[in-house]
Amino acid sequence: MKHLIKIFILIHVFIAFYLHAEPISKEILENKIEELKKLDPATRKEKIELLDYETSASILSYLRYKYIKENPEMEIVFSMYDHISNLNAIELSQKRLNRLLIVIVFILLLFSVYLTYILISQNKIIKELKEFKISNTKSSNKNFEVFKG
């Protein structure tokens, strides 16, 4: 039993070694922020939009810590911003999902209506052609009566 516990602990130690997170160093973050500060607002916005999730989250967390330290009221600003961006994200994703479902339903309807129209029209014509054939056979089989005066 003791051996088992030792092995169990050892496995966890090994896993912990492999799973250690590599934080982005403070210097790298500060350099990135300085780079962004130098840009004009339009280019800065473009650059920010190209950042991956980890970098963006690290920069935000760094700035948050820095500004809250300087001014505790900033906590409210950041929390409000988080809340509003969460609400916007949910609303946008719901809107996108709805549009996607409308697109799928529309395509399904478009093709189904077209195929149904083709099949119904075709059956209608076949029916009329059959009737036409029957009436033609009847008229050709009809015995002509000859009246003599």
Partner: protein, 219 residues
Amino acid sequence: MKNIALIINIIFAFILIPVTILALVYPPVIVSQGQAHRIFYIHVPVAWVSMYSPIIASVAGMLYFITKKSFYDRIVVTSMKIAFIFALGVVITGPLWASTEWGTFWNWKDPRLMSFFILILTISSFFVVRNFTDDLQKKYMYSAIMAILATFASVFTWFSIRILTPDTHPGPVLHTMSPEIKRIFWLSVLGYHFFFLVMFYLTYQYEKIQELYQQLRHH
């Protein structure tokens, strides 16, 4: 043999059902577009078919000019009908996506959108011009000419995104897709092309039977 080919086509066209479901869950979300990017697996293959169909129609139209056989006119009408249905699918699904991504349904300055608008106008005018006359020879001739015009519009649409810089419409992404997106995309392309063949077969049969009916009525 004909029936076997049709059955095989129908079976392959049915891959559209699992592909549509897979497209909703399998490929990863594109961060900038969220779930809206999944329209790509419907919109693009449908647009491709709507651009190929006029090419088939124009080849048949040219063959009509050479042989003067009504069989080729039937191919022209069938292809143009399918082109119209698929083009309608494109111009309605595209703006639905654009409304969330661009904040507007249509951009009159975008070359891709405008070239596709010209294409759908040309396809629609095919049916108007076709009904200008009751003279069958003239009807077939006008149709062949309109199919050739629609092909020009189709080729222009295809290249517009490659030659002109799109204003808002996304550019070509074929070489930048992730493996998951690529897999579902090509499966979807395959499904829509088999579906096109099924629709082509059914529409062709309908045109053939309608032609026979018209001939009998006139006699």
